[in-house]
Structure formats: C-alpha cells, structure tokens
Amino acid sequence: MVQPHARWVRISHWIVAASVLTLSVTGFEILMVHPRLYWGAAGNDLTPALIELPISRNYRHGGYTPPTPLARNSAGPTSAERTYDIFNKNGWGRSLHFLAGWFLVVPGVVYLLIGLVDGHFRKNIWPTADAVPGGPQYNLRQKVAYSCVVFVAAPLMVITGLTMAPAVTAAFPLLLQVFGGYQSARTIHFAVFVALLLFVIGHVVMVAKSGFWRQLRAMTIGE
C-alpha cells in the first residue's frame, strides 16, 4: 500500500528534483571546463592533479608555452601562457548553477524546518526500526538512505559549494580550514555529487520496481 505524501513534501520534492537536475547538468559543464581535481588551497594546469577526468577536450590539453620561473628562485613556482582555445561555457553554466542553487537552498531550508516541527523526520525519515502508522512505510535501509541525503549529503553539497565562493570564505574563513582549502572543497563537492548521483539512480530504480505510476501519483497528486 502506497501512502500519499503530504502536500508540502510533494511540492518541495519536485522543486528540489528540478533544481538537482539543473545543478547536475551545469555542475558537469563546469567540471568539463577544468576536469582536474586537487587537494589543498591551490591547483592548476601547472601543478600536479589528484584526479584527471577525460570528459572534455580540456583533458590534458597541454596548450601552454614552456614554463618560466615566476621568481628569482628557478626551482620554485613557474608561469606559462595558455595557447589553447579551451572548452568553456561557464558564462551561462555558472550563473544557471547558482540560480538552481537558490531553488535547492530556499525550499531545502523550508523543508528542513517543516519536517522538524511537523514530526515528519521523527516519524518517517529518521532511522528507527519502529513503523509509525499513518505515513509512508519506509524500511530501515530506506530511512538510512533518505537520512544520509537530507541531513548529510545535501547540506554538505551546499556548504562545500559556498566554500568555493571567495566572498563567502572572506566572511567565514573557518570553512577553508574545515575542508582543507578551496580545492579540497571542490573535490569533496564532486565526490558527494557522485554519491548523490548513485542515490538518485537507486531511488528511480526502486520507484520503478515498486510500481512506477502508483508511486508517481503518490508524489504528484497525492493519491
């Protein structure tokens, strides 16, 4: 028996779903522009990468003049001029990412507040073995998955995202220390994205296996 979802759950579910889809597409575009991940504060084409992803023509493009020393110390940092026309659609990619971010953060905060006050989290989401009658009957594994997404992964995405914002870390430098630097936050942002992508795939497969149209009705018209 599929239980209908409360209206505020249905509304926030679909706003966040649309936002997450947009964030995923634009986030992937942004990663395509610089498909190298690092650890620490700084990383660029002239420093070693932690991971290089073959997802655009920018992957190992090597379009630089020979490096020259940036200071008197010739063994120290270098500079080189880029000679390669890279793939870059960040003009719209970044702005759309942040616009979609507003549609994650605002409904997300409202969802968290209502869920807390309303008892929805305590009754239906927080991983306890007891089934509470009257709401969606999730098993323990579902509750663990939903709790990880709602209380850990989604907030972590927002916070690591904000750690990449120079105006935000000027106000809250602690963020850089917590995540180990700007590039570390960027790498964590990507790792949590991969985890959330796996969750979404699993979520859609489970919905399909348990009666796709019935589940869709429960999350749209609430029947």
């Binding site: 209206r7 505020w8 942004i30 990663l31 522009v33 610089h34 190298r36 504060a41 700084a42 990383g43 660029n44 084409d45 002239l46 420093t47 630089y64 490096p67 940036l70 200071a71 008197r72 120290g76 940092p77 270098t78 500079s79 080189a80 001029e81 880029r82 890279i86 870059n88 960040n90 003009g91 719209w92 970044r94 702005s95 759309l96 942040f98 616009l99 507003w102 605002v106 409904p107 905060v109 409202v110 507040l113 209502i114 904000l162 990449m164 914002a165 120079p166 105006a167 935000v168 870390t169 000027a170 106000a171 430098p173 850089l176 700007y182 590039q183 960027r186």
Partner: protein
Amino acid sequence: MKLKSRLVTRRGAIAAGLASVGGFALWRSPKDLPPTYGSLLRMGDNLTYAAHRALLPRQALVTEYTDKDITSFPAIGTTNPAASGPPDRANAYRRMQGGSFADWRLPIEGLVAKPRTFSLAELKQLPSRTQITRHTCEEGWSAIAQWTGVTLGTILDAAGILPAARFVLLHSYDGFANSIDMLDALHPQTIVAYGMNGQDLSVPHGAPLRLRVERQLGYKGLKYLQRITVVNEFDDGGEQGDLANGWAWYTGI
C-alpha cells in the same frame, strides 16, 4: 480541518521565506543593480549579489597566505595586448612596453574632484600594500601569488572621490572593461598591483598594472589597466564588459 489550516500556515511560511529572499533583491535600489535585460540568469546573479551585500560582513578580509604557499600561475586570456588588443591600443601598448612603461599614464576621471593621472613611478611612491592571496578562476583552478601595489582606495582618495560615486569602471589595453561597486573598490585588499612575487608585473600577468579584487573571481582583476572612471550609475564598459560578453558581473561566488 485541522490539517487544512496547518497547510495554509505552512504555505504562508513558504511565501514569507521566498518574500524575504526577494526582499534582499529589492533592498538595494534598482539603480544599484546591474541590468538583467530580462535574462533569468542575470536575475539569479543579482539575487546572489544582493544577498551577499545584505548578509555578509561588508569589510571581511580574505585569507592571506605565506611565502611557502606561493604556487605556479598560468597566464590565460590576453597574454600580450600588443599582439591581440584593438589596433590603436595595441600600438600604444607596444610603444610603452618598448620604454619599460615609463610613458604609461593611468588617468583617474569621472566623479572625482581632481581628475589626474598617475605614472608608474608616482604609484610606486604611494604607500604600498603587499599581500599573498589566492587567485580563483571561474574555470575551477586556483593559484597563490604575492601581489604588491597601492589600494584602489588610496588612488581614488588622491583624486578626491565625490559622494555620488557608485561604481568604479576600469578599461584595459587588451580591449576589455570591468566595473566593481564602491564596497569592493574601497575594500582594504582591493589593490592595483605593479608587483608579483617580488618582481615587476610581467606582460602575461598584466604589466604594468592590474587590478586585484580578492573577494571576487580572477576575471574581475582586469590586467593592463588603461584608465579608471568613477561613475554614479551602473556601467561595466558596454561591449567591452562582462554582461555584453555573457558573463556574470558580480562574482563573489
């Protein structure tokens, strides 16, 4: 019935939440916001800008690093205006470069009491500021370097900035322009830099003078400065600016 009345309250709460976010956008008068030309993306940029200005401490300083944190630094975009700038500016740049920029002059004009120009030697005589900061590129990479220069506030003060000033517009020899609001213009870490890692700024990195706006992304730090204009209405340089080229004007995120 009880359930229904609670739903209305929740919807009211959601509406109040959205209205308060919208309020940030209205908190600044439309004159203080960049135009959107009806673009949803630019509206989102303005919401972020207004939220940052409303919620973040106005003079917070970015993290400064130490000598040992300095990294390699790619030079991207224009790396030599003499080769790629608009012909008139390219020629002018080539001439000045031949004379080690002794003939280079930086005019400060617009809403200032005493419009004037600065030579490189005059700028170097003003009180200097050296900072080791992180350059964050919109592409996703970052690099740390030491910058030496004069705070933009110092040179604006020297020209006598007028109370009506709202934005600072900068033009460059590579044919780009850019503007920042007064809050970033007068920020203690916003400098016009003539030195990088203890040496004169090299041509690929913006010789003889570039802007550093540390609370925004790298592309706000215009290289090859040609002139500075103080304005009372939003102006990012028209066709040479961020918006006309499809980029966000405010990049604190």
